[in-house]
């Protein structure tokens, strides 16, 4: 118990307390911090830039879940269950997961650079003027697709492991009960995947909610603030020494992640279990 608490206090408690401490003070370089209560929190919540970043962030994360989870399930379902092809599929799926965030960002920057990148060149063939530093939609879509490419394999691998663990008897029984393929999926596969899907959704939600390296490297948050996600917003404030504001927004950020994760966890744990009760 004591060692665990000691490690926890170093890794979580002390940094967290520092952030809370910052968030309750007005800090300006050179002078002593002044206690201002919740003023920083009120300022953050009223700040249109923070609100914009939060909405953008929620839109991004929900979109990521809506695309990556079903896509991951589909990929897992279409993978072979046995034979030599299994190993090949697993390796191919694993490759994106091995590439670090910043490398992904740099690859994306090279690919999308106007006038030399492959993607603008290709899209120009269809008379589409693709430019991530000019058009907000292009920038947002690029980061979105980048994340889908990078992390859908994780969901697929989790689901694949879950699928392998379902005994054949369940499908045989469902066939004998006259279930259609859809019903087999709905009443056998999906309920049996529940626990891996909980993990997948939570991981993808939390990770996508703190996306940082890719937009920073690709667009630096632009054009305008089209790809300024919450983490970028907070980091910018901290870099400009607005430590009180940054502390308050970090804490709000953390709170939102915890609340959403809790809601997802509860929803997914209870969905279907209490039906018709």
């Amino acid at each position: 118990m004591i060692p665990a608490l000691a490690i926890l206090s170093i890794s979580a408690f002390i940094p967290l307390m520092t952030v809370i401490n910052y968030s309750l003070h007005y800090i300006f370089a050179g002078s002593a911090p002044t206690f201002v209560g919740f003023d920083n929190y009120i300022e953050v919540l009223r700040d249109p830039a923070f609100q914009g970043a939060l909405i953008r962030q929620l839109f991004f994360s929900m979109g990521i879940l809506a695309v990556e989870v079903p896509l991951g399930i589909c990929i897992a379902l279409s993978m072979p269950r046995r034979g030599p092809a299994v190993a090949l599929c697993l390796v191919l799926l694993g490759i994106p997961l091995l590439i670090p965030f910043n490398v992904v960002g740099i690859i994306a920057r090279v690919l999308t650079q106007s006038s030399v990148g492959l993607i603008p060149e290709f899209l120009a063939l269809f008379n589409y003027d693709f430019n991530v530093s000019k058009y907000p939609v292009d920038a947002f879509a690029t980061i979105f697709l980048l994340d889908v490419w990078h992390w859908t394999p994780l969901v697929a691998l989790l689901c694949y492991a879950g699928l392998q663990a379902i005994p054949d008897a369940f499908y045989q029984a469902a066939r004998i009960d006259g279930a259609s393929s859809w019903k087999m999926f709905r009443y056998v596969t999906l309920p049996k995947l529940r626990s891996v899907l909980i993990i997948g959704v939570l991981l993808r939600f939390m990770d996508s909610f703190k996306i940082y390296a890719e937009p920073l490297l690709l667009t630096g948050g632009g054009p305008g603030d089209a790809t300024t996600f919450l983490s970028l917003h907070v980091a910018r404030k901290a870099e400009s020494y607005q430590l009180g504001y940054a502390g308050a927004s970090s804490f709000i950020y953390l709170f939102i992640v915890i609340v959403f994760s809790y809601v997802f966890f509860q929803l997914m744990t209870n969905i279907g279990k209490g039906e018709n009760q």
């Binding site: 029984a173 066939r175 004998i176 006259g178 019903k183 279990k273 039906e275 018709n276």
Partner: protein, 364 residues
């Protein structure tokens, strides 16, 4: 309800692995018939092809050769749902996102039966199974025995179910619920008169459940008959030993000069048996059930002396292992017989209880 027949069924799991004459068949050349409305058991040691046979009947497996007939109609090519044959698996299968009611209603709703009929049928089934008070409960909290009842329920809830196949349904059931579930299965069969085939390697389960037992060994049919027939007249020494507890005593002997000559003793034979046996040949396997041996502490006419080497007391009866120089027999005697290990006993082999096997086939 239906009569189920297998005609020349053979199955090889990997037919492309070897040329036709070298293939390894899981089951081969099976001709079995199960009468309408009967309680049947398919009994055999582990790995003898029982589950393969079951999957062929239910349609989960297409046999390499042969036909499956339901009421005389060929269903070999039909999908499981079209055959109207239900199956209960070793591990209880329940849909855990549905409650008990919805589980039982699932096969009916898949057939698009009106909800009103579904309700009546489900209530009726739940009543038979003793699940009526738990229809609204989640399935996740139920024990394995209740889950297995739900699996059974889903198979009998359909009016048109021709037969129910049970694949070792008691394997994962807690011992204290085993008896109850077995009686429930028997009761359901009695009440609904659906053809049921119960697959097991446990002779006790098979003999208590079924009126008609089919014994399979190495993918081949060995004998089909009532529990009494299998017990009294086993077709092969294997069945003699496999059925019964302890199994039949089997000794090699030869017919010589009007006597059955064993390694270290002789038995006289009657004229009829002598004439019958002599028409087959000389060397036989001699079989007699332990419960038919008459053991006494005094020498009588026609008895053979043995020494008791082991006494196993079950509480209800004693099993004696009796040895001579090379021969060994087991005898089941009453609890009241007071003997100790090392005692000398005289064993009588009643003539009307003797089985003789020639070439692994019963001749007498």
């Amino acid at each position: 309800m239906a009569r189920i027949e297998l005609e020349g069924i053979s199955h090889c799991y990997d037919p492309h692995s070897a040329p036709e004459d070298q293939r390894e068949y899981a089951v081969s050349g099976l001709n079995i018939s199960w009468p309408d409305g009967s309680a049947n058991a398919l009994l055999g040691p582990s790995g003898c092809g029982k589950t393969t046979i079951l999957n062929i009947i239910s349609g989960l497996l297409l046999p390499t050769a042969g036909r499956v007939l339901v009421n005389g109609g060929d269903v070999t090519g039909l999908a499981p749902r079209e055959r109207k044959i239900a199956q209960v698996f070793q591990f209880p299968v329940v849909y855990d996102s549905m409650n008990v009611f919805d589980n039982l209603a699932f096969p009916l709703r898949n057939q698009k039966i009106p909800e009103k009929t579904v309700k009546t049928k489900v209530l009726e089934t739940a009543e038979i199974l003793g699940l009526a008070d738990r229809l609204k409960s989640r399935t996740t909290g139920l024990n394995a025995a209740d889950k297995q009842k739900i699996s059974l329920g889903r198979s009998i809830v359909r009016e048109d179910t021709a037969a129910v196949l049970l694949d070792e349904p008691l394997t994962v059931i807690d011992p204290k619920f085993k008896g109850e579930l077995r009686r429930k299965l028997r009761e359901v069969q009695n009440r609904l008169k659906k053809t049921m085939i119960y697959v097991t390697h446990d002779q006790h389960e098979a003999l208590t459940f079924a009126d008609n037992v089919t014994i399979v060994k190495d993918g081949r049919l060995v004998q089909q008959g009532t529990p009494e027939q299998l017990h009294a007249q086993p077709e092969t020494p294997f069945i003699g030993y496999f059925i019964g507890s302890p199994g039949m005593n089997l000794l090699d002997c030869s017919l010589d000069n009007g006597k059955l000559r064993f390694a270290d003793f002789d038995l006289p034979v009657g004229e009829v048996m002598k004439a019958n046996a002599a028409s087959y040949g000389k060397d036989f396997k001699f079989g007699i059930r332990p419960e038919f041996l008459e053991v006494s502490a005094e020498e009588k006419n026609g008895t053979v002396a043995f020494t008791v080497s082991v006494i196993e007391d079950t509480g209800a009866y004693k099993v004696l292992t009796c040895d001579r120089e090379t021969s060994r027999v087991k005898a089941r005697v009453s609890e009241s017989m007071s003997l100790k290990e090392g005692d000398r006993v005289w064993v009588n082999f009643p003539k009307d209880r003797i089985n003789l096997f020639y070439n692994e086939q019963r001749v007498i």
